[in-house]
């Protein structure tokens, strides 16, 4: 491009600056080749880190750069597109071994199922309507015991059509059997996404992991993220140490197919299917120790003794932190429980953290209030829960609204 043309900044209808895909530089390619494998404990917990000011999408990219991904399959959907296109750049630079754009989400999520069965580490990402389109396939991943990572950059589910942030889609993810983490900010999105690969691939877990983040609020906004050096990466997937055989025909020619349907109407079939489903949820529980170890627990508690407690996940946590600070300015101590892992749901931890609370407020970025329902069904004395405030359709949540609930809104159920 000539110097003169460079002055004109073109944007797409959504206002994003249009840039051509950069060709990978020689330097970048050298970077990928020079990466060395380190122990996950070192990468997650010990490696020196440096702070950088990046968007949520860039944070995801940095996680994938260090994740030693074999196959990434993409499809554009706002606000996810930027991340998966950046994964394309990582592929061009040699950080990811294979990458392509699939036909649409059903095809992409199916292809991830195929790739995961082959024993490679694989990943995709989606948002809102894209998640809904792929959901039939995503729901079958846990039954296939397919450890893949799915990033969800939440957005409104149509209709009416909108591209704004709203995490109602996570209510559909709750019962799929996938592990589900909800990131508060850019730092979480980096940390959770990277740890997700290792947690899902643990032999006793062998499950897909979805890492959700609220679109635009986090994906398109900058925040401080502490990153270890880019020259280290996770060990590769160790597929023969997982719960089920790979579909690579490296096993003896057994007469049972791992994926054969169980459909005959007899007691043994019911029993098999029931136990398989129970096993998925048991495997979720077994992931807890790794979430504790690498993400510092399934929840975080602020002001644990406060009589008024807020429970939140995702970017509602940041709004709640501010509300807690503003309440303190007015002389009121308010506590906060941040839910990092929605699946497995930290039931014991939440019960313990809220046992003493007199009032529990659950602010959410969705209409249905899925988190409030989870909390109510978990704790003793669910009448203590005020399910709200809730905003949706892309609206931001004023901290004053949370404060209003703290200060005296009558219990609304």
């Amino acid at each position: 491009m000539s110097e003169g043309l460079g002055e004109e900044v073109k944007t797409n209808p959504q206002g994003d600056v249009i840039t051509a895909a950069p060709a990978p530089t020689k330097e970048a390619k050298k970077g990928a080749a020079a990466q060395r494998v380190v122990d996950p404990d070192y990468l997650f917990l010990q490696a020196p880190r440096e702070k950088t000011f990046i968007t949520g999408s860039e944070a995801a990219k940095e996680a994938i750069r260090r994740a030693n991904v074999d196959v990434a399959i993409s499809y554009p959907i706002t606000p996810q597109s930027e991340t998966m296109q950046q994964v394309g750049y990582l592929y061009a630079e040699g950080y990811v071994k294979d990458y392509y754009r699939g036909e649409e989400e059903y095809g992409v999520m199916s292809a991830i199922a195929g790739a995961s069965r082959s024993g490679v580490r694989c990943l995709s990402a989606t948002a809102g309507p894209g998640l809904m389109r792929g959901l039939e396939v995503i729901s079958s991943w846990p039954g296939g015991r397919l450890p893949a990572v799915l990033l969800i950059m939440c957005r409104v589910i149509n209709a009416p059509l909108a591209i704004q942030p709203d995490n109602v889609e996570l209510s559909y993810m709750l019962n799929t059997g996938c592990l589900l983490f909800h990131a508060e900010n850019q730092q979480d999105f980096y940390d959770y996404s990277l740890a997700a690969f290792m947690i899902g691939e643990k032999p006793e877990v062998t499950l897909p992991v979805a890492v959700a983040v609220d679109g635009f609020f986090v994906t398109h906004a900058r925040g401080w993220v502490s990153l270890p050096a880019a020259d280290i990466k996770l060990p590769p997937r160790d597929c023969y140490h997982e719960a089920v055989p790979m579909m690579d025909n490296e096993n003896p020619p057994i007469r049972i197919s791992r994926d054969a349907p169980i459909q005959k109407s007899n007691f043994i079939s019911y029993q098999m299917h029931a136990s398989w489903q129970q096993e998925i949820w048991a495997a979720q529980e077994r992931s807890r120790k790794w979430i504790d170890r690498w993400l510092g627990g399934l929840i975080e508690v602020v002001n644990p003794k406060a009589k008024i407690m807020i429970v939140a996940s995702g970017s509602a946590v940041s709004q709640s932190r501010e509300a807690v600070r503003q309440a303190a300015e007015q002389g009121l101590e308010v506590g906060l429980v941040k839910i990092k892992s929605v699946r497995p749901f930290p039931a014991d931890e939440v019960r313990a953290a809220l046992d003493h609370a007199e009032k529990i407020i659950v602010p959410e970025f969705n209409y249905v209030g899925w988190l409030a329902k989870e909390v109510k069904s978990t704790i003793r004395g669910s009448e203590r829960v005020i399910s709200g405030p809730r905003v949706f359709g892309g609206m931001s949540m004023p901290t004053e609204l949370i404060l209003e609930y703290i200060m005296g809104t009558p219990n609304r159920r």
């Binding site: 294979d98 699939g102 199922a113 024993g119 694989c122 025909n249 096993n251 994926d259």
Partner: protein, 299 residues
Amino acid sequence: MALETVRVSPGFQKFLPKEYQDLVENGPFTKERKVSELGSFKEILEEHPMCAGCAMTLFIRVALLALPSVENSVIIGTAGCGRLALSQAAIPFVYGNYGDTNAVASGLKRGLSVRFKDKPKDVIVMAGDGGLADIGFSAVMHSWFRKEKFTTVMLDNEVYGNTGGQESGMTQKGMVLKMAPNGKKFEKMDMIGLAKTSGVAYIARIAPTNPTRVATTIRKAVLIAREVGPTYIQAYTSCNIEYAIPTPKVMDDARMVEKDRYGFMEYFTDEAKAYWEKTEADRRKLKGPAEKAESQETK
């Protein structure tokens, strides 16, 4: 798969089922088997609940035997009659969601290529006309457009046999079937034409009347897919139940349909043709005159 993984250790001999021992000793894992030998050894397909005399079963039996590397193959299927037999084969079988076969195969093949650089791993989709031409249509077409290196075999019984006889896109125009009570309103989909347009490297249309030819075609398709690009076989595998074909007449029907509208046809792209001719020439050089004679005969 290393043969060593398959072999039974002498110490465990008495504990393993006889059929497994037969499979390892005499099956196609250790040596290439001819169609004429079917029935003389323990084959890879176990008993299955398909209807007696279903032409699809014969086709599947021959196709599995003909795979150039049984021990390095993975089959992908979907809901439908075919998978009742496929899931009983001693080959890993992926059974996913309806219509996802070619998308799953794309990911699987790419993953296997990342993991096994020096060992060809063949991926074969074998599914019905409903699974491939209707609900899985987009995935099939896009796997062809992307030039994914695997074989797609359509078991074309021209009906949804497994769900009790509804029309599919591959049903012939005018057929009266459930969900087509006044006769099907549009022509049988031209999947072969679509495959050509999409740049599929090798395409064949075949009926199960000549098992040796079925075997040769499958072998060709899998080997070309390994090196050149996507391959497609469309096989007439009648549904004797929904089309009320008496079991003893299944082959008569196949011969009639073959003569009428399902004659053997194959198509190569130039690249596939060149590759195949070279492969055959090398094979003849290696195997000698006897082998040459056999391959001529099956043409």
